[in-house]
C-alpha cells in the first residue's frame, strides 16, 4: 500500500507495511482518507535525526485526532534511515496522527522490551521515492515558534496526502 505526500517542497512516496504494523497502517490510512494530513506541516525538524509532522496546521494549532493506538513497535522493523514511524508522548500507547521520518539510523528508538522505557517507536513503512525532498526538509533552518523548538522558519506544508492506486 503506497501513500503520496505532496508537500510544498516536493513529493514523498511512502510504502506502508500493513503486514508488520496492521493497526498502525490502518490508523494512518484513516487519517489520509479523512484529509486530516492535508494542511498540516512538518513542525519539528532536526537534521541527522528526523523530520516530524502530521499534527499541526501552519498556525501551530494541533488538529484534533481520534483515539490513540496500541504500539506495534515490537514488529521487528527498525528505525532506520528513511523509515516512517509514529510519534507519541512518554506513554508508549499514545500515538495518534503525528509521524516522523528517520533521517538517520536511530536504533535507540527501536523496541527493546514491553516496559515504559523499552517500547520504542513503531515503524510502519518507509520512503520509496522522494528521499531528496525529505533531505531538503531536514536541512531547513529552524526557529522557536509558539513555545515549540526546531520549527522550520519557512513553513513546510503537506498540501495533500493520498493513497496511490495500485498499478
Amino acid at each position: 500500500m503506497k501513500v503520496l505526500l505532496t508537500t510544498t517542497l516536493g513529493e514523498i512516496t511512502l510504502e506502508l507495511n500493513s503486514e508488520k504494523a496492521p493497526k498502525t497502517v490502518e490508523n494512518f490510512l484513516a487519517y489520509v482518507e479523512s484529509g486530516h494530513f492535508d494542511g498540516t506541516i512538518f513542525h519539528r525538524v532536526i537534521k541527522d535525526f528526523m523530520v516530524q509532522g502530521g499534527g499541526m496546521d501552519k498556525d501551530m494549532n494541533s488538529k484534533s485526532t481520534r483515539d490513540s493506538i496500541q504500539n506495534e513497535a515490537n514488529n521487528g522493523l527498525a528505525n532506520e534511515y528513511g523509515s516512517i514511524a509514529m510519534a507519541r508522548t512518554s506513554d508508549p500507547h499514545s500515538a495518534s496522527a503525528q509521524f516522523f521520518i528517520n533521517t538517520n539510523d536511530n536504533a535507540f528508538l527501536d523496541f527493546s522490551s514491553e516496559t515504559q522505557d523499552g517500547w520504542g517507536y513503531c515503524v510502519f513503512g518507509k520512503v520509496v521515492d522522494g528521499i531528496e525532498v525529505v533531505i531538503s526538509i531536514e536541512e531547513k533552518p529552524t526557529t522557536t515558534r509558539n513555545g515549540h523548538q526546531d520549527v522550520p522558519e519557512e513553513t513546510v506544508e503537506i498540501e495533500k496526502a493520498a493513497i496511490l492506486e495500485e498499478e
Binding site: I46, S90, N106, A107, F108, L109, D110, D117, G120, Q149
Partner: protein, 251 residues
C-alpha cells in the same frame, strides 16, 4: 574552543563568599571561554524582577553586565526553579541570551541537550504540577503586572513553602527518574545530556538499545565546587577554584 557549564549557583546575600567566587570566575576563566552556559538557579532567593533591590540581585546583574561588556564570550542563561521568571528585561540588562529548557546545542558536530533538570524529576508529581502553573505565560504576565511589593510578599511565602517541602520529601522523589531521562534522550535524539538541579554531581554512562549515552549532572556550584569544561572534544569536571587558578597560570 572552550565551553563552560555551571548551574545551581544559588547566589545569596547570606553567602558573600559565593558572590566573591562568582566575581572571580566571571573576571577570570569565563572571560577566556568561547561560551558560558548557566543552567538555572543563578539566584538562591526566588527571582522576582529586575526592579528588585533585595541583594544580591543588582550586584549579580552588574557583574553579568560588566562581563558581557568586557568579554567576547557568549553568555547563555537558562531559567531554574529559583529563577523561573528571568525575562527579556533581565537579558537586555545583563547582555545574556536566555535559553529555553531544554535546548540542544552543537558541540564537536554532535547535538548536546541542556536542561536545568527539574522537569526530569517526574516522581515529584506535586512539584511538576506547581511548575506547570508558575511557568504558564498567563501567570507570568499577571505576576509582572503586580507591584514589586506584592511580588516580594508572594515570593517570601513561596520561599518558605519550597524550603519546607524539600525537607519533607523522600530523597528518591527529588532525583531524576530513569524513565524521564531515557524518554528525553530518545525524544531529542541526543547522546549527551547536561543538567543540574539535583545537586548530585556525577557523570552517568547510560546504555540502551545499543546506544551509549552520557548524562552529566552539574553539582551545586559552590558547595560541590563544580564547573564542567568542554574543550578539545572532551568534557571534564573541574573544581571552580582550581580552574580559576589554572587559567591564571596559563595566561
Amino acid at each position: 574552543m572552550t565551553t563552560l557549564f555551571v548551574s545551581d549557583l544559588h547566589l545569596s546575600y547570606r553567602r558573600p563568599e559565593k558572590i566573591a567566587l562568582f566575581k572571580r570566575l566571571m573576571t577570570g576563566p569565563a572571560v577566556k571561554a568561547d561560551a558560558l552556559y548557566i543552567l538555572g538557579d543563578l539566584f538562591d532567593d526566588f527571582w522576582i524582577g529586575c526592579d528588585d533591590d533585595h541583594p544580591p540581585n543588582q550586584e549579580v546583574m552588574s557583574i553579568l553586565r560588566d562581563y558581557s561588556a568586557n568579554s567576547a564570550t557568549q553568555l547563555f542563561i537558562m531559567r531554574g526553579n529559583r529563577d523561573f521568571h528571568l525575562n527579556q528585561e533581565f537579558a537586555n540588562a545583563t547582555g545574556c541570551t536566555l535559553i529555553e529548557d531544554p535546548t540542544a546545542i552543537m558541540l564537536d558536530d554532535k547535538r548536546v541537550l541542556l536542561m536545568h533538570g527539574d522537569t526530569l524529576c517526574t516522581d515529584d508529581v506535586k512539584y511538576q504540577k506547581w511548575r506547570r502553573f508558575i511557568t504558564h505565560p498567563i501567570i507570568k504576565w499577571i505576576y509582572f503586572i503586580m507591584p514589586l511589593s506584592l511580588r516580594t510578599k508572594i515570593s517570601r511565602d513561596v520561599r518558605g513553602y519550597a524550603a519546607e517541602a524539600v525537607q519533607k520529601k523522600a530523597p528518591e522523589i527529588i532525583d531524576v527518574t530513569e524513565t524521564a531521562v531515557l524518554d528525553t534522550l530518545k525524544n531529542f535524539g541526543v547522546e549527551t545530556l547536561i543538567h543540574g538541579h539535583t545537586h548530585r554531581q556525577a557523570r552517568h554512562e547510560i546504555k540502551f538499545n545499543n546506544t551509549q549515552a552520557t548524562r552529566f549532572v552539574l553539582g551545586e556550584w559552590f558547595e560541590q565546587d563544580c564547573v564542567l569544561v568542554h574543550d578539545k572534544t572532551t568534557f571534564r569536571f573541574e573544581r571552580v577554584d582550581d580552574y580559576i587558578k589554572e587559567c591564571k597560570l596559563t595566561r
